[in-house]
Symmetry: C3
Subunit: 470 residues, 3 copies
C-alpha cells in the first residue's frame, strides 16, 4: 500500500502551542505575498522559448545536484541515474530515485520535492518504488500540456520578479526575447539578469585568456590592457543594467580582498594575463577585483553580491568524468575579518553602496559577519546559503545573526536555484521558518506581535525588494 | 497612537508551560539577590563626585557603542548622533535614535533600554518618532533630581559591589574619594578597581614609551629596565589591591602566551622598549607577560582575567576621525589549545590561582574551553562576552559549556559595561536565561529542581563572589 | 536526609507534550533492542578471565577520566583520589567523589553514573557525602557476587556484540580464550577485536622502533623495510580478522592524508625509521599510511575508522607524573576538506569501502563533514564523539548533520568507553536523544511517524550492524 502524501498546514512551525498559534497568524499574512527572487540560476531560455519541459527525470532529477549527490553517496551510480549518460532510460533512473527516497528523510530536498509533487502535480501518495511509475507517467504527461510550460508556471507561482545569473560573455539574447515579449504584451513576467564576471575575473577559470578575447570582442575594448579591461567591465555592466540587472555576483574561493595602487594593479594584470602567473597572483587579482567591482558599483548603482568559500570540484575522478557542478563542491573555513578589511577600508563607509555577503561557514555568523554588518553602512548579510538553506540552517542563521546585526542588515530570502519548480516551496520554507522564529521571540516577550507582523512581511518581501533595488 | 511599553514578568522564559513554571519558581528566589558586578567599565568619577548625569542623549546614546554602531550600519551619520560632535543638538540626536528604534528589534540593546525606560524612568509607551520628545524631556528632567544621581541609583539598583577597570597609570584618586566616603559614613557603596596593564604591557599601545615613563614615576622604579619594570608592576598591583582590587584584566589581540627564560625576556624587553621592535616581538612580549602576570597573581592573590581575540579598530576611517572604542572592534577566530599551553604548563596546576578566561569565538566553547577548564585547576570560564552577552549567546554558552566544564568552572555573570543604568537589566537577563536553561534541564529530568534552585543562586550571586574573592 | 535517586521514564525527552508523546512511542519500540557496540575500549581480559571487579573506587572512579578530570579541575588531588597512588584508601577516595558529586550536575557522567547506581546496584538515594559509605559498601559487596562478574553483566546488559580495540602488537590471547569459550558452549558472549595500528604507524609514538621490532617478530616479516612493513600489516590485519575484527581504527593528531608514490613512500619510511626524522616527516608518514590502510581495507573488507584531532597530553606536569590518558587530551580545530582530499581522491568513489570518520571539532559538522559524507560513497560519519557524546552534543550532531548527510550516511551509536558498567546507560541516552530528535521532526511535520519509527530502529541498532558488518 502506498503511503499517503500530505502537506500539513502547520509544517515547520514550532510544536509548542503558544508559539505555533503566533506562527500561524504571522504566516497567514505573508503566505500569499508575491515571490521576489533576487538571485538564482534558472535558465532564461525557458522563459524566452517557453518550450515544454521534458520528462520527470530530466526535469527533477538530472539537474538537481542536491538529489543525485545523496544518491551517489549511498552507492547509486551516476550513469544509471542518467547523469552525463544520455543512454540511461529515464524511467529506470527515476525508479532509482524513487526506491531510495527514504535517504532524503529530514532533508530540505525531501520537503521541496514533496511540495512539487503535491502542489504542482497533485499527488496524494508518497514517492516510493511502488509509486515510481505512477509518478513518472503523471509528471511526464503533465509536462506536455500548456499549463506546465515555463511561463505558465512562472505566472501560477506568483513570481513578481526573478533574476538569473550570466557571465559578461553572455549575449543576453534570451533576456532580449523576454523583454520584447514584455514590451509587446505577449507575456508580463519580469526576468532580469545579474552580472557574474568570474570567467573574466578569475585567472584560474577554465579558458581565462580565451574569455578575455571574447570580452574584448563583446565590449569593443582591449581587455588585455588593464585600462581596456576595466573599460570592458564598465561597458558590460552598463549593458547588463540596460537588460534589467540590478546586481553583480562574485563566486570566489575565499573572501580575500585587496586594494592595490594603479601601478601595482597594472603589473599584476600583466602577470595574470601572461605566462608566469602564480597561484598567489591569481588570488591577489581576484582580491583586488572585488574592490574594483565595489568601486564600479558605487558609480553605477549595481548591488554587489559576494559568494565565497567553496572548494570547487573536490572529487578529481568526478571532475574528470562529469565536469563541474556535480555535487562535489565542499565549504571551507573562511576568514572575513582580515580578508574584507581592504575592501571595507576603502568603501565600507559608503551608505550608498550595498554589498551583500554570503557564507558557507556558519562559525562566522555571530563571530564575524553580524559584528561587521552591524557596523559598516555598505555591508548587508545574504540569507543562509546552499547547504545551510534548510530549516535548521535558517534557524541557526537567525539565532546567531539577529542579536548583533538585527533584522534590517539582512536582505530577505534567496532561492539561489536552477530547480525552477521548487522555487515556491523554497520561499515557503523560508517564510515558515522566519514566522516560527519570530513566534518564539513573541512568546518569550522579546518582541511584540505587531512588530513580528511587520518583520514577517519585511523578511518575506520588502527587504528583498529594497536591498536589491527591485 | 504610541504603542504601549510593557515588561512581561515572564520575559525570556521558555514558552513551554512546564519549563516556564519551573523557570518562574527558580527566578523568584534569585530575582532580588544583590548585584555583584566583578568586572565592568563604569566611571569611578560618577560615584566620587556624584554629579547629576546630563541629558538623555549624553547618558544613553553617546557612550553606548552597541547603540550607535547599529544606527551607523543603517546609514545614520555619527555627526548627527552627536558622536564626537559637540555641536549636534542632543534632542535631534535623540530623535534619530527614536525614529530608528525598530532597528533594535530582538537585540539585547532593545531589552536593556526598555528596562531602563520602564523601570528607571517609568515610561509606559514605546520609544518611537512620536514619543521622542516625551522621552527626551522626561529623562532629562529626571536626571536633574537627586534620586537620579549616581550614588542614589547605585543604592536603588541593589549593587553590593562593583569593580571598575583602571590602567596602572591611573592615580585612583576617584577611588580614594569613594573609600573616604565609605570610611566617613557619607556613602556605603562599595566600588573597587581592577588592574588592567595593557598600556604598559602592549608595546603597540599608543604612547607605550611615554606610558613606561609615567609608570616609572608612579612606581619609583626604572620601568625601562626589565627588573625595574617587573618591580613597578608589583608595586602598582599592591597599590591597586590596597584600593580594593581583587583582580587584574588583560585585553590582548590573541590568547598567545609564552614562558621565556630571564635572559630571553630581558633581551625581548630591550627590543620592545628600543627602536627595532617587530610585530612578532610585540606579540611575544604580550604573550610572555601573561605568564609573568599569572606568576604575580599566584604571589599576591589577584584573580587574573584574560579578554582575548578582538581585532581593534577595524574601520580605518572611523579610527582616524573618531578614535578608539567606536563600535568597530570585530571578533576573530582564536586558538586556545596551543596558545595557552605555555601559561598552563607553568601555572595551570596551581589550585590557588584563578585565571578567568573569556572568548569572542564561540567555536571554542565546547571544543577547547570547556575541556581545558574541566581539567586545569587554575582555569575558570568567564561568561558569554560582548556580542555574545545576549539571550541566545548565553544559551549557547550554557548548552555548549556545561556538559564538559560543569557549572562550577564558570564564574557567574559580568555586565562588563559602562552603561550604568542598564546594569540591573543585564543581570536580570542573565538570571532569567540561566533559570530558563535550568528549567529545561529539570523538565527533561536531567537535574532535580532542588539542585536547580541551588544552581540558580550560585550562578546569580555566589559564584561571582567566590571566584572574584569579593 | 539523603535525597532520593529516581530515573524518570521520560528523561531526556523534550518537555513539549506533543513531542514527548511521540518520543515515548518511538522509544518504547527501541528501548529493548540488543546493544551493538562496534567501537570501544573495554578490556577483553574481563570477559576471558571473568574475575570479579574490585571495589567501588577501583571500578567506577580510577579508570574514568571524565570523572577525575572534573574533580581535579576543582582542586581535588589526584593522589587523594588514588590515581596512580596505590596507597590511597579507596573508601576515602570514593568519599572525595561523593562529596563533590554536585560538580557533575548536568554532565553526561552524572547521568551515566546515576543509571549505574539505580539500575545496576539498586540505589534509591543520591550519592553525597552522607551516602558515601553506604554506596561504597553496597557496591563493593555486590561486586563480589557472581551476578556482578563481567560475563554475567554482559549477558544482563543485552549486549549482542562488543568490539574492543587492540594494537597489532597484541597477541589477542584474551580473545582466543573468549572464542574458545564460545566454541565450547561455556559462554555465548560475542567479543571481537579491532585493529588499531597507531604504535606502529605513528613515528612519534613512544617506542616506535621497538614496536617495529616486535611487529617483525609477530608477523614474521621485516618491518624495517617498507615492503616488509606493509606485508606485516596485511598479516596482522588478517590475524585480527580471524579473531573477529571487522574494523580498523586510527587515532591521529590531525586528519591529514597523503597519497605518495612507492618511491616517495620508501624514502619517507627510511627517514621515519632512521635517525633524522622531522616532525613533518612523522605527520606525512601518518598521512600516507591512512591512504595505505584504506587500500588494504578495500582488499580485506575491514571497515576503517578515523579518530583525528586530539591534542594529546596537554598538561606536561600531569604527563610526567601520571602518564597518558589522564584527562588532559584537548580537541583542536581540524580541517577535513583539504586534509582528506588525497585519500578521498584515491578511494572516495569506492562504494565497497567504508571509512567512518569522527571529529572533535563540531564546526566541521555542517560545513565539511555532512557535505563530504553526502557525496563520497566511501565516507560515513561516526556519532558524536568523546566530549560531544552527551545529550546536547548529540542534538547538535543530528541538527547539523542530517539536512545535508541524511541519516543513512551515519552509523548509529558508539559507546567508545572502558567504563563497562555504563554501556547500557550510554546507549540508552543515545536512543532517547535520537527519539526526541525524531519526535521534533514529526511534530513539525518534517517526517511521518512511521518513518521516524523505522529510523529509530535504524539509529539504535540496524545502522551499527550494517556499517560495521556485524
Amino acid at each position: 500500500m502506498p503511503r499517503p502524501l500530505y502537506l500539513s498546514p502547520d509544517r515547520l512551525f514550532p510544536s509548542d502551542p503558544a508559539q505555533r498559534d503566533i506562527a500561524r497568524r504571522l504566516y497567514k499574512a505573508v503566505a500569499g505575498l508575491p515571490i521576489v527572487s533576487p538571485h538564482g540560476h534558472t535558465d532564461p531560455a525557458w522563459f524566452a522559448g517557453d518550450a515544454p519541459f521534458g520528462n520527470a527525470a530530466e526535469l527533477l532529477l538530472h539537474p538537481d545536484h542536491y538529489v543525485f549527490r545523496m544518491l551517489y553517496s549511498q552507492g547509486v551510480s551516476l550513469d544509471a541515474l542518467g547523469i552525463g549518460n544520455a543512454d540511461a532510460d529515464p524511467r529506470e533512473s527515476w525508479r532509482l530515485f524513487a526506491e531510495n527516497y527514504h535517504l532524503f528523510r529530514a532533508t530540505p530536498s525531501r520537503m521541496w520535492m514533496d511540495w512539487v509533487f503535491a502542489e504542482v502535480f497533485g499527488f496524494d501518495v508518497q514517492l516510493s518504488a511502488e509509486t515510481s511509475d505512477l509518478y513518472y507517467d503523471r509528471i511526464t504527461e503533465a509536462l506536455a500540456i500548456d499549463a506546465f510550460r515555463p511561463r505558465a508556471l512562472f505566472d501560477r507561482f506568483g513570481i513578481e520578479v526573478i533574476a538569473t545569473t550570466e557571465s559578461p560573455l553572455d549575449s543576453l539574447d534570451h533576456h532580449a526575447v523576454i523583454r520584447a515579449a514584455n514590451a509587446s504584451g505577449e507575456w508580463g513576467g519580469r526576468v532580469i539578469t545579474a552580472y557574474r564576471p568570474d570567467p573574466v575575473v578569475d585567472p584560474e577559470f577554465e579558458g581565462f585568456r580565451d574569455n578575455l578575447a571574447r570580452f574584448s570582442n563583446l565590449s569593443g575594448e582591449d581587455a588585455f590592457s588593464y585600462s581596456g579591461y576595466l573599460a570592458a567591465h564598465r561597458k558590460r555592466r552598463a549593458f547588463f543594467a540596460s537588460m534589467g540587472a540590478t546586481s553583480t555576483d562574485h563566486g570566489h574561493p575565499s573572501a580575500a580582498t585587496a586594494d592595490l595602487s594603479e601601478t601595482q594593479a597594472e603589473a599584476l594584470f600583466a602577470r595574470v594575463t601572461g605566462e608566469d602567473m602564480s597561484a598567489a597572483d591569481a588570488e591577489l587579482f581576484r582580491a583586488h577585483m572585488l574592490t574594483v567591482m565595489a568601486g564600479m558599483s558605487l558609480d553605477d548603482g549595481l548591488v554587489m553580491q559576494i559568494h565565497p568559500g567553496a572548494f570547487r570540484n573536490h572529487n578529481p575522478w568526478l571532475f574528470a568524468n562529469h565536469g563541474r557542478d556535480k555535487g562535489a563542491d565542499i565549504p571551507t573555513a573562511t576568514d572575513y575579518v582580515h580578508a574584507l578589511r581592504p575592501l571595507l577600508g576603502r568603501y565600507g563607509n559608503e551608505a550608498d553602496l550595498t554589498i551583500i555577503l554570503f557564507t558557507l561557514d556558519e562559525t562566522s555568523y555571530a563571530r564575524e559577519l553580524a559584528p561587521l554588518a552591524g557596523h559598516y553602512p555598505a555591508l548587508k548579510l545574504g540569507p543562509a546559503w546552499w547547504f545551510h538553506d534548510s530549516p535548521e540552517g535558517m534557524r541557526r542563521f537567525r539565532s546567531q545573526m539577529t542579536e548583533t546585526a538585527g533584522f534590517y542588515n539582512t536582505v530577505g530570502f534567496n532561492d539561489d536555484t536552477r530547480a525552477f519548480l521548487s522555487i515556491p516551496a523554497r520561499h515557503d520554507v523560508a517564510r515558515r521558518i522566519d514566522c516560527g522564529f519570530l513566534a518564539q521571540l513573541v512568546s518569550e516577550h522579546r518582541l511584540e506581535e505587531w512588530e513580528a507582523a511587520e518583520l514577517a512581511a519585511d523578511l518575506s518581501y520588502n527587504l528583498a525588494k529594497a536591498s536589491y533595488k527591485l
